[in-house]
């Protein structure tokens, strides 16, 4: 017996139908296809052409089989798409920056070169993001299928009015924000000046500074100037009532103006006071601990600057 196109088509359909319905679906479809072909032949069509036309009209066998057994032809349908997308956005915001930061810190501590650090950080961040997309999509695709097998309907967590975005999101431009920031800047400025002019710590009968004493007066003076501008910026934001994109951009420039020279000085071993740190660290490990300490300082400076910049832009966006 030769295999006809119809046989092959029906085989292709029932292949993905559950075992117990296969015979029934196949037999019914075979009769229906034969009826349709006969009708076309009656109207004068050539049998081969009639068969082709009927099968072509029925379309992709996998699609027909999915219609027969009610299998959905998507990974995540409209019912769960929004839940999934909210979760992905949240996770991307949290996990990717933390992961990238961790990779960069780990690579630096392990003594990797700058190229290797950037390479593995970017590569790591991309791979974390891809993993987030993949695994959340997999979980939601499984939920989608588990639910359609059962009877439950509706989203995971029904939407309610309580989930509306807050009317007055935290603006970061309240009076108390301004005061806290300005007071913090004043304390920091006083600490810097004290550290340079007197020394922060009393050790072995003399005062000694944490930061390299040669930073005084020009480097520290420059920093104090930038901090003064930052204080003014905070007042402007308060008076303006909210962060705007230009203000956030200015804030980002201030962050860069502080962080880039600080990290450069650190890389030249001109930021921290070597004398002090070697005095407090046990001699045997001093060089190693000092290197790690420098790296941690550098990453903290970079982390704080990046966070401060992003935070201001986020507040500007929320305030729109």
């Amino acid at each position: 017996m030769t295999t006809t196109l119809t046989d092959r088509y029906i085989d292709a359909v029932v292949r993905t139908v559950p075992e117990d319905q296969r015979g029934d679906v196949g037999a019914e479809l075979r009769a229906s296809v034969a009826d349709q072909i006969d009708a076309r032949i009656e109207q004068g069509e050539e049998p081969g052409a009639a068969e082709r036309a009927v099968l072509l009209a029925l379309g992709d066998p996998d699609k027909l089989a999915a219609d027969y057994i009610g299998r959905q032809l998507y990974l995540i349908g409209p019912r769960y798409y929004l839940e999934w997308w909210r979760l992905v956005k949240l996770l991307l915001w949290i996990v990717v920056p933390l992961g990238a930061f961790g990779i960069a810190l780990g690579q630096s501590l392990a003594g990797a070169g700058l190229g290797a650090i950037i390479g593995s950080t970017v590569g790591g961040a991309i791979s974390i993001a891809v993993h987030l997309f993949f695994w959340t999509a997999l979980v939601f695709a499984l939920i989608e299928r588990a639910e359609s097998a059962g009877t439950a309907r509706g989203t995971l967590q029904p939407w309610s009015l309580e989930r509306l975005p807050p009317e007055n999101p935290y603006s970061g431009a309240r009076f108390v924000d301004m005061i806290v920031n300005v007071v913090f800047l004043l304390i920091a400025a006083a600490a810097l000046v004290w550290d340079q002019l007197v020394g922060a710590v009393y050790l072995d009968g003399r005062w000694i500074s944490l930061l390299d004493p040669t930073l005084w007066p020009w480097w520290i003076g420059g920093l104090l100037l930038v901090m003064a501008i930052d204080a003014v910026l905070n007042v402007i934001v308060y008076l303006n009532g909210r962060w705007t994109v230009p203000l956030a951009a200015f804030n980002a420039i201030l962050d860069i103006v502080v962080a880039v020279p600080a990290i450069w000085l650190l890389s030249q071993d001109r930021l921290l006071n070597r004398e002090f740190w070697f005095a407090v660290i046990p001699a045997a490990d001093a060089e190693k601990v000092y290197t790690i300490l420098s790296l941690l300082t550098g990453f903290s400076i970079a982390g704080i600057a990046i966070w401060s910049s992003i935070d201001a832009f986020l507040k500007a966006r929320r305030a729109r």
């Binding site: 037999a27 019914e28 009769a31 229906s32 009826d35 009708a39 009927v54 029925l58 027969y68 009610g70």
Partner: protein
């Protein structure tokens, strides 16, 4: 998308439920896949075979149709018939459709 594409999409959405209703009403008399397809087309319900066949199966699964294989003829065919639940569903759908038709008729005139 062209204007005819839009028209096609909207017509499809408008007609979606009517095929179900037509099947439930026509299958008061037992019928089989292709026979029903022809009947639907004769009566002005433009339906594709690959929509109708799975639909019959789904309605059967929901208990709105019952089925029986007829092996008396040379070509065995699966015959469907509207069940009691199917008749109740058809009555509800018909009522609703008439309500919609009345509501449409009561809309402001096109001109």
């Amino acid at each position: 998308m062209s204007e005819t594409d839009f028209l096609e999409t909207h017509l499809q959405e408008l007609r979606r439920g009517t095929v179900v209703l037509a099947c439930l009403r026509l299958l008061a008399e037992p019928g089989y896949g292709y026979g029903l397809l022809e009947q639907l087309q004769e009566r002005g319900f433009d339906t594709d075979a690959n929509t109708l066949y799975p639909l019959l199966r789904r309605l059967e699964k929901q208990g709105h149709l019952t089925s029986e294989w007829n092996t008396d003829e040379a070509r065995p065919r699966k015959f469907y018939r509207t069940s009691a639940a199917g008749r109740r569903l058809a009555a509800s759908l018909t009522d609703d459709f008439q309500a919609i038709a009345a509501a449409l008729a009561a809309l402001p005139a096109e001109d």
